[in-house]
């Protein structure tokens, strides 16, 4: 449980950090809260030559409302800071999920940017951001791009983020009064990661149809995904249970010592239905 030797650099600014990783040819890794990379390094499953510490860059921290009403969450904002933030308090998904992420230490250190950059296939935060149609802002030297979260994740621990990029913030759509949302998960008891975690957002009824539906699932496939077949079925007026049965359509469902494919497929559907029911209950 001792990492291989590495160099440590504390970045003085975002530009400093970007310059360092741009020239490292992949040998430098960014560290923020350290809740993902440090365990991997201690097991020597990750062996960066250099850690570039961006943890003290205040420019990447905090929550602010953008002029267009959207909300920008700095990449270094911790789970605990998000729990306490007045602006984010109105997002039912965050209120449901954040207090159950990791443990106190993880919530104090772990960051929103770190979570999605790590792209763990069972992490909760990616599912929440998928259901919210968030955008990820990534910077590299002399460039900045905005990536829809729906095209961010590519596989287990794999995303479209390039080695020379750092996530600077995540943008959430402005809070809406005509939707209800909820997060429901069944956890793997040892790690606390989700066997099946579901973020659901539902829009108020427009006549006999739901006005809106977004469902995202984590822990089930090789990366968190939007369950578009569920969404379509809900919007087409299917009963929730029938719609939820599409939770894993087109997905290669994971199997491990805690939950095999059959069980995971089943509980994914159960959690989808329950998340939708809870979201509807919050529509008021």
């Amino acid at each position: 449980m001792i990492p291989a030797a590495f160099d440590y650099v504390r970045a003085t600014s975002l530009d400093d950090a970007l310059a360092r990783i741009a020239t490292s040819d992949g040998a430098a890794k960014v560290i923020a809260g350290g809740q993902s990379i440090l365990p991997l390094m201690k097991l020597r499953l990750a062996r960066p030559e250099t850690l570039v510490d961006i943890g003290r860059l205040d420019e990447l921290r905090g929550v602010r409302r953008l002029p267009d009403g959207r909300v920008a969450v700095g990449a270094l904002t911790t789970y605990d800071e998000m729990v306490r933030d007045d602006t984010l308090r109105h997002y039912g998904l965050l209120a449901d999920a954040l207090p159950n992420i990791g443990d106190v230490q993880v919530r104090n250190r772990g960051t929103i940017g770190g979570s999605i950059a790590h792209a763990d296939p069972a992490s909760d935060m990616p599912a929440i951001l998928l259901a919210l149609d968030a955008e990820v802002v990534a910077r590299s030297v002399g460039d900045e791009r905005t990536i829809p979260i729906t095209s961010f994740f590519e596989g287990a621990f794999a995303s479209v983020l390039r080695p020379d990029e750092i996530i600077t913030e995540v943008r959430l759509p402005g809070g809406r009064n005509d939707v209800g949302s909820a997060y429901r998960a069944i956890e793997q008891p040892a790690s606390g990661y989700s066997i099946a975690g579901v973020a659901a957002v539902i829009g108020a009824r427009n006549g006999d149809r739901w006005g809106f539906c977004a469902v995202a699932i984590t822990g089930v496939g090789d990366h968190p995904y939007r369950a578009s077949a569920v969404e379509a079925a809900v919007l087409a007026g299917s009963p929730l249970g029938d719609a939820a049965a599409h939770a894993t359509d087109g997905v290669t469902v994971a199997s491990d010592i805690h939950a095999d494919r059959e069980y995971r497929t089943h509980v994914a559907a159960v959690q989808v239905r329950r998340a939708l029911e809870a979201a509807i209950a919050r529509l008021g």
Partner: protein, 800 residues
């Protein structure tokens, strides 16, 4: 007047230092010029070692030494408790060497040790060692390992069998089962567990070239036993040339009883470095891979009786997985400590057990909290529920009908120690089981359970209630039994204490037992304060160092309160008697006329003529006026060998709710009525019960070591091995009955293991009860959501 604290809820004197980070564990000890050791472990579960190339490692920065198996001049580690003791039963013994020489038998067996200036350098160098492996076929399941064609681990153990041991009346049990109205048969798996003390193991070896003496600091429950085993059996050095010190030990649960390979490694390493101390600290991953595991039984159970609820026989065949090589007392656990209490607190006339100890490509299995008795309790308590279910009787009623009646003690159970060959006959000496059960059932609202089950159904839940009316055997152990040929481990198990009263009246007690978090520094002080009439603050309890404490067998088997405390009481009694004689001299009275009241020594009938304990200590320590023939100083040692074990019992009731859709089990209520005899410190008793209950519930619902067929430990870290969290556990509702133990002056029985012994069966019975509407009779643990849901699905499919 000093307040007598015996029996009071005294806050633990250890806690201030332990919870403020001022404890001193092995890894806190830093010695001058200390070097660090890393142990390279096998990535294969079964392989021959063709060669090991350490040249690159030796050339790495900071590396001082690299050792492989061929460099170790010592014997293999000892195995001290064969099945059946030293008489009669063939035990095919293979134990680990400090480092493997020719082959490895489990993933994690040590093959090389690197000693370097820093731990980081040792780890870096370890990666450069090249082993030429010849991988071999593997087997991890104890029953499969005995089948024809299974991979063979050891030449001297055909079919991987360590021993075949039996106890009880084979013919009698056979007849009772053949003749019975009702026989229930069930295969039960008591899954393998990974113990999780907060502090992993670790040690520092130091060879003093000036005196030719060795010292080892070790996170151990048994420093005195380790001195004996390491010196005489492993290293071949005189026992007095080795000193063993256990500083603060951060939990153990049995894992730190044993002799491990790292002990001789760090001692030899220090000698090879000319006396530089060498530290090795176990990582959590190594702890999972190479410190002992617990349980791992496969049992074929038969329980027989009549439809009116009289149980006439229990017969089992158990395959006990002992790992790739044997740990120190591995074979003793699934034999004596298991099958001899297989009938629990029931008067079952016929009991027969066959146990097959088996080698597999897994880490060794040895004593884990309860050690054999949780396995036995699980079998008999599941058996009672299965039988009750079969005859349609309430499980509480079946238990009541079969309890050993309170007027039948001492009771000789049919597979018990009364039948042991040679040595003492040990009987269950006391008990009164029905009142504890009645109290627990009342607390749990057992009579209303049908209504509660119906209410739960309206919420999509299946509610179940489970009982465990357990019997414990604690306070190990009478030496006449445990040392006897044919049963025990050929060693005694008495305990020791020394009491020294210093000139100022302050008292130092040194004991042979060894705390790992139990609060011994508090409880011993409560006892000695009571015995000598002095405040707890005037007493310090010292332990854990073979230089300075009397020889003792350490702490495990819930023995400290009943065996260790009695030795301390005896030593305090000797102090009191000597003080009394000296008081008589000071007061110019005859000894018979001196009466002792707390710390006051008075002349009968003349209450003004008195001396305090402190005055006596002062005068006798200075000894300017000692009477002829009286030695100066108050300093007494006592040894105590208990005439019997102690027999705690009780009833635990678990209530669970199962989510019909997901199979998730929620433990919603837990009631425990325990009879641990008198209590030295009820708060510490509660704490032991809390921890034990949660540990046992952990086995029922969440915990399980999982090896792949290739012998890789898939539950290799806390990311995959579910140690219970506080938030998963309801408020534990505790109560008591008190039947004092007749074998020791305090009337205590010990409580370190009771919770863990009782709770697994209670929770498992509750889950199986909840699943009755599905026609499910039995599910093996851990009762994870997936396991429960799949069983419900197939039951629904079968009914459809």
């Amino acid at each position: 007047m000093t307040t007598d604290m015996l029996g009071k809820r005294v806050k633990r004197v250890e806690d201030q230092r332990l919870i403020t980070g001022e404890g001193r564990y092995v890894d806190d000890i830093k010695l001058q010029s200390m070097a660090y050791c890393a142990i390279m472990r096998s990535p294969y579960a079964h392989a021959n070692i063709r060669s090991i190339d350490t040249a690159a490692a030796k050339a790495m920065p900071g590396v001082l030494d690299v050792m492989i198996g061929a460099d170790i001049p010592y014997n293999p580690l000892p195995m001290a408790w064969p099945a059946g003791g030293s008489a009669g039963i063939q035990n095919n013994v293979n134990t680990p060497r400090a480092l493997a020489t020719d082959s490895v038998k489990w993933t994690g067996e040590g093959v090389a040790a690197v000693i370097a200036e820093t731990p980081e350098q040792a780890f870096d160098a370890m990666e450069t060692i090249v082993v030429d492996w010849e991988p071999l076929p593997t087997v991890v399941d104890a029953e499969k390992a005995t089948l024809p064609g299974a991979p063979q681990l050891h030449e001297n153990a055909p079919n991987n069998i360590v021993f075949e041991w039996s106890v009880g009346d084979r013919d009698g049990a056979g007849r009772a089962i053949d003749d019975a109205e009702v026989v229930v048969r069930q295969r039960l798996v008591n899954q393998r567990l990974i113990p999780n003390p907060m502090e992993t193991r670790g040690d520092i070896g130091w060879f003093n070239p000036g005196t030719d003496e060795y010292t080892i600091w070790m996170s151990s429950q048994t420093p005195h036993i380790q001195r004996l085993l390491l010196a005489a059996f492993v290293m071949g050095i005189p026992e007095h040339k080795l000193r063993c010190i256990s500083p603060d030990v951060g939990g153990a649960f049995g894992t730190k009883i044993f002799t491990y390979a790292d002990y001789p490694i760090v001692l030899l390493a220090s000698k090879r470095l000319g006396g530089r101390p060498v530290k090795w600290i176990e990582s959590r991953r190594e702890n999972y891979q190479s410190t002992i595991h617990g349980r791992d039984h496969i049992t074929y159970l038969e329980i027989a009786g009549s439809k009116d609820g009289t149980v006439s026989a229990i017969r089992v065949k158990t395959f006990a997985n002992l790992g790739g090589r044997l740990s120190t007392i591995g074979p003793g656990i699934p034999t004596t400590l298991y099958a001899r209490v297989l009938s629990g607190c029931y008067k079952i006339p016929n009991v027969y057990a066959e146990v097959v100890g088996v080698y597999t490509n897994t880490v060794f299995v040895d004593a884990y909290r309860g050690a054999g008795r949780p396995e036995a309790t699980y079998v008999v308590e599941r058996a009672m529920d299965l039988f009750a279910n079969e005859i349609g009787m309430d499980p509480a009623e079946l238990r009541r009908r079969n309890f050993i009646p309170p007027d039948q003690f001492p009771y000789e159970n049919p597979s018990g120690l009364g039948t042991a060959s040679g040595g003492a006959k040990i009987f269950i000496d006391s008990g009164n089981y029905a009142p504890a059960m009645d109290k627990a059932l009342a607390m749990a609202g057992y009579a209303d359970m049908a209504a509660r089950k119906a209410e739960a159904r309206t919420r999509g839940k299946y509610l179940g209630v489970g009982l465990s009316t357990y019997l414990e055997v604690c306070g190990v152990a009478p030496s006449k039994w445990i040392g006897a040929v044919g049963e025990g481990w050929g060693a005694a198990m008495w305990e020791s204490a020394n009491v020294k009263v210093h000139l100022t009246g302050k008292v130092v007690v040194t004991v042979g037992t060894q705390p790992q978090g139990q609060g011994h520094e508090t409880t011993y002080a409560q006892i000695i304060g009571h015995e000598l009439g002095i405040p707890m603050e005037d007493i310090v309890i010292q332990h854990s160092d073979t230089q300075g404490t009397p020889f003792g067998y350490g702490s495990y088997g819930s023995r400290t309160s009943s065996v260790g405390s009695t030795a301390a009481i005896k030593a305090a009694g000797k102090i009191r008697e000597k003080a009394r004689r000296y008081a008589a001299h000071m007061l110019e009275a005859s000894v018979e006329d001196i009466e002792v009241d707390g710390a006051e020594y008075r002349v009968k009938g003349s209450p003004d003529k008195k001396k305090t304990f402190q005055e006596i200590a002062f005068a006798l320590d200075l000894a300017f006026d000692a009477p002829e023939g009286m030695e100066p100083y108050l300093d007494e040692t006592a040894y105590y060998d208990t005439p019997n074990c102690t027999w705690p019992f009780g009833t635990h009731v678990a209530i669970v709710e199962i989510d019909e859709e997901t199979g998730h089990v929620d433990l919603v209520r837990y009631v425990a009525v325990d009879d641990v005899g008198n209590k030295i410190n009820p708060m510490i008793v509660d704490g032991q019960l809390h921890g034990g209950i949660v540990q046992g519930a952990g086995q029922a619902l969440w915990e399980g070591a999982v090896y792949g067929d290739d012998g890789q430990l898939l539950s290799g870290s806390m990311l995959d091995y579910a140690v219970p969290r506080a938030s998963w556990i309801p408020n534990l509702e505790l109560d008591e009955t008190v039947t004092p133990s007749p074998v020791n002056p305090l009337g205590v029985k010990g409580v370190g293991e009771a919770g863990a012994i009782a709770s697994t069966a209670a929770v498992a019975n509750a889950v199986n009860d909840a699943l009755k509407p599905f026609g499910i009779r039995h599910l093996d643990m851990p009762l994870t959501p997936q396991t429960v849901w799949k069983a419900m699905q197939s039951a629904k499919g079968a009914q459809a």
